[in-house]
């Protein structure tokens, strides 16, 4: 597999965003947009019907946005934020998904995580796993200088 820098005229940009990681970020961005749009509609139209479910949708949407940003930023702090948000999402989809299957009465209204993200092609279930795999493979190393380190990282990515 050749890296993007082999075929592209521009050199690889530094950061965690190398190779296929860009696709991961793009999918995160789309999911963040979808979750934000949907929770906006739910809250504007019928917030009183299910305040908990819709508040959860909004929270999930915010976390997806933070995760998207965190994935694109270099540095240890953003790396930790990326881990935290992705673990939060994974916990959310597992807990809410399980509850919505075991006891549908608890979540009569759809959230992004109902039925393990059924309404979103199960992307909310698969994406955190891919995200964690990606983060585990691209650990920031405090010893190496940031630019060299990230160049090596994106080189190793593909």
């Amino acid at each position: 597999m050749s890296d993007a820098s082999d075929t592209a005229p521009a050199p690889e940009r530094p950061g965690r965003l190398g190779g296929i990681g860009r696709v991961l970020v793009a999918v995160y961005a789309v999911l963040a947009l979808a979750a934000t749009g949907r929770s906006f509609v739910q809250i504007v139209q019928r917030f009183d019907e299910a305040p908990v479910a819709y508040a959860l949708s909004a929270l999930a949407a915010v976390v997806y946005i933070v995760a998207t940003i965190a994935l694109t930023r270099p540095g240890r702090t953003w790396y930790r934020i990326a881990w935290a948000t992705i673990i939060f999402e994974f916990t959310g989809v597992l807990v809410v998904g399980t509850l919505s299957v075991v006891d549908p009465a608890l979540f009569p209204h759809d959230t992004v995580w109902s039925g393990y993200g059924r309404g979103y092609l199960f992307i909310p279930l698969v994406l955190p796993v891919l995200g964690m795999w990606w983060l585990a493979k691209h650990r920031p190393d405090a010893a190496a200088p940031a630019s060299e380190e990230s160049a090596a990282r994106s080189g190793a990515a593909s």
């Binding site: 860009r22 696709v23 793009a26 509609v41 139209q45």
Partner: protein, 122 residues
């Protein structure tokens, strides 16, 4: 909403998505062909926007929530320009794949819009 046009639009978006993903995985950087396919997806979305604005005047009204339909349409309209911008800034093979993901996301959203317009119980 014109149903056959919407299905055509979904077909174009899926075709553009598969084209970009295949070419991207094959190592191609964004080209006129892949970016053009995404531009076509965007043009069809603009046509859809005009149709959605005009259709109610001809008795073709949505059965579901106008707000939800609108949020989907506006979100979908934002996606192809964002992907094209990304591909112009970062001319790597993975940008081609990103364009494909964007086109498939638009296809899903247009399908949801069709459901909201035609078969909405709530």
């Amino acid at each position: 909403m014109i149903e056959w046009f919407t299905w055509l639009q979904i077909a174009v978006a899926v075709a553009a998505g598969l084209l970009c993903i295949v070419l991207g995985l094959a190592g191609r950087v964004p080209s006129d062909l892949t970016l053009g396919s995404l531009a076509l997806v965007e043009v069809l979305l603009v046509v859809q926007l005009v149709v959605a604005l005009v259709a109610p005047a001809f008795g073709n009204t949505p059965s579901g929530s106008v707000l939800e339909f609108g949020v989907y349409l506006v979100s979908a309209l934002l996606i192809p320009p964002a992907a094209i911008f990304w591909a112009l800034v970062d001319r790597g093979r993975w940008s081609t794949v990103v364009c494909g993901v964007a086109a498939l996301a638009v296809a899903v959203m247009v399908y949801r819009m069709l459901q909201i317009w035609t078969v909405q119980q709530a």
